[in-house]
């Protein structure tokens, strides 16, 4: 038995390595070759003029001059400290959550850090002067991370902090007559990304309780409640969002007593809550359907009443299963807030239109619209990434 001579022979060049990858992915068959050539030609024809335009002809000054308008609309400039305070509190909360819950919140924390760093770099490059506030917020995030790690009863504190955060931000932005340092800022001055975020958050979290009630009602065995829930859900899902916003802005005042006249932002929020509740109901219903009968039977066997079963056993599991759908609806509501442009609120899309009407920046459609696209796109991308990391950490859908 002779030993078989083996010598080191490297694999053929066309089988591994970058050339092989190119061959397999781009040129594997004749029509793939044709497609690849077509794609390369298309990208050259489309991207080259776009790149040329972006670097030479485009007037990016319009963005720089109106950045504050994009971000906060016509919010009084001397009160801008309140907006920054809200951002600092948010950074603190994200850092705290990261410290307390580690993996679940890590995605969002990375996003916040990355976004902050990107803003700092861009601001330094363009010579804007907002970079020191961003630096402070990054520092706050890191400090609260360390606090969160060593905080006793961290989960409880962090949850309470999150629950308190939203009313507090509302108070900061809106102001009140009773606190001297927070003069009231009427809601028709709110605008830009600030207004978009406020509408999204209120619309989503305000609709969730109503959505849960509707989902439970839809599964109820009492026919009256069931038909009412089904009727509401199907009615709202069958009409466009713009008609509900139209109804909220024009008709809602008719349904309220004479001296109750909420302003347009509140009415838009009510419209969003009415609309989103129907969609959240469907999401929660999906989660409820995923719970198997064994849970109900075990709860029954343990002697829990119907309400206790629902609140303590079923709903927590159902809500955890619908976390991906909840994030999806957050993202889609974030996009849908652009519709309030049609009823007269100055969020990002309408602010873009009003910027295009300024005399010095006539004709800058493409720059302004592209910037608005960027805002939405980056925000959605960031949120998708963070939510996906959270789902992975929580093991949603796997256990």
């Amino acid at each position: 038995m002779t030993a078989i001579e083996t010598s080191e022979v490297r694999p053929p060049v066309l089988a591994v390595g970058p050339l092989a990858w190119v061959r397999k992915n781009l040129f594997s068959s004749w029509y793939n070759v044709a497609l690849t050539l077509l794609a390369i030609w298309l990208s050259y024809v489309l991207l080259k003029p776009a790149y040329q335009w972006a670097t030479t002809e485009a007037r990016w000054g319009v963005i720089e001059a109106n950045l504050t308008l994009f971000m906060i609309g016509t919010y009084p400039r001397d009160q801008i400290g309140r907006v920054w305070l809200s951002i600092f509190l948010l950074a603190a909360l994200i850092g705290l959550s990261w410290g307390v819950w580690k993996n679940a919140a890590r995605g969002f924390a990375f996003i916040a850090l990355g976004a902050g760093a990107a803003f700092i770099l861009i601001a330094l490059y363009f010579g804007w002067d907002v970079w020191d506030e961003w630096l402070i917020s990054e520092a706050i995030l890191l400090i609260s991370y360390f606090i969160g790690r060593f905080l006793p009863r961290g989960a409880l504190m962090a949850t309470i902090a999150w629950l308190l955060y939203f009313p507090l931000v509302f108070l900061l932005i809106a102001g009140t007559r009773y606190i001297a340092t927070l003069p009231p800022v009427p809601s028709n001055l709110w605008g830009g990304l600030l207004l978009t975020l406020l509408l999204t958050v209120v619309g989503n979290f305000g609709a969730l309780p109503l959505g849960i009630l509707l989902a439970l009602g839809r599964r109820s065995k009492l026919p009256v409640i069931r038909y009412f829930s089904i009727g509401y859900i199907e009615l709202i899902r069958g009409v466009p969002l713009i008609t509900i916003l139209f109804m909220a802005s024009i008709v809602l005042a008719l349904f309220l007593p004479i001296d109750v006249r909420p302003d347009l932002v509140i009415r838009a929020m009510i419209g969003f809550i009415i609309f989103e509740a129907a969609y959240q109901a469907e999401n929660v219903r999906g989660g409820l359907q995923a719970i198997d009968r064994g849970q109900y039977e075990a709860a029954n066997a343990l002697g829990l009443s119907g309400t206790q079963t629902m609140v303590l056993i079923i709903l927590p599991q159902a809500l955890r299963a619908v976390i991906p759908a909840l994030f999806n609806s957050f993202i889609s509501l974030f996009k849908d807030t652009s519709l309030v442009a049609i009823i007269g609120l100055f969020e990002v899309v309408r602010i873009s239109r009003s910027i295009l009407a300024q005399s010095e920046w006539l004709g800058t459609h493409r720059e302004v619209f592209l910037f608005a696209f960027m805002i939405y796109w980056l925000f959605n991308l960031a949120f998708t990434y963070g939510s996906r990391r959270m789902e992975e950490a929580l093991g949603v859908g796997k256990r």
Partner: protein, 382 residues
Amino acid sequence: MRKLFPLFSLVVVASIMLAACGTPVAATPVTVEVTRIVTSEAPAAAADTPVVEAQPTAAPPPVAGGERLQTILDRGQLVCGVHGTFQGFGFVDSAGAWTGFDVDFCRAWAAALFNDADAVEFRGLSAQDRFTALASGEVDVLSRNSTWTYTRDAELGLTFGPVTFYDGQAIMAKKDVVSDSAAGLDALEGANVCVQSGTTTELNLADQFRAAGVNYTPVVFEDQNAAFQAYDEGRCDAITSDRSQLATQGQAVLQNFADHVILDVVMSKEPLAPAVAQGDDKWADVVHWVVYGMIQAEELGITSENVDTFLTSEDPVVRRLLGVEGELGSKLGLSNDFVYRAIKLVGNYGEVYDRNLATFNLARGQNELWTNGGLMYAPPMR
């Protein structure tokens, strides 16, 4: 018995429901009786002590049917519906400062009520929701270049104030489509015309072109600036709106105003007037008489700069107007010098006009005083 009980409970419940729905609907608004201590301040009879500041607020006697006015006075601030993106008439810049012809009238009303021209909260309203906002009570007064028409007065639940700006609808076209401003509408045969929705402009456009027998295609936008931009880019051959709007927005928003020509054709009468919600005569009167006071002041030559010198005038007309003598203000529930406040803090009609519209070269034309051949005519204040 067990089977009858649900039936019995249903009957009980049904009777409760019927009883609840049977209460008559309250249709008449409740008049609020406010008793206040009226501190009567005798106006300084000594004519040689000019009052530099407005006299301390004499609390007005309660007025019947004046609940809107009372609400405003209690609130201490006027809520005024304005345009927001219309330079010259109602515009807010990126820092949040409001300027404009209609905006200044809001300030004049606030000055008359509260002796403070900044006691106003401005709400920018779109053309679609301006009347609903007013009728539902969201704003106290609408000062938003709105045309006074029969339907709006009768059907939409509004009451209009005095006309502050006599305007007319006009149509603007590019010079290479229509070169001569004296051309008629038939020069625009088959044209695409940009127009804003929710306005009388839309209706008049249809009427005028039908009357002239000219074919056209409307391109309707819900935002006036979008209409101008589309027209500028070439989507439409012409754009129609109030003449004042074409002149001011045209200069502000079009890339080269000299390439466009506004035809001389007057397509309709457009008397622009402020409006209040129907049903509150006292507040409507206040709106009326502050404006008339400003027009009368211009007629008498009183401006914001020289108003203090007029306080010592011997002319009874001037004295009554400025509240030096007479009880004009208290009949409305205001202080007697409400016109003085408006003039001093904001200005007379001519000053308001020049401050806002002179830069756009808008000649006063029909908006001159009646003594100069225009239509601005204030009823006597006595």
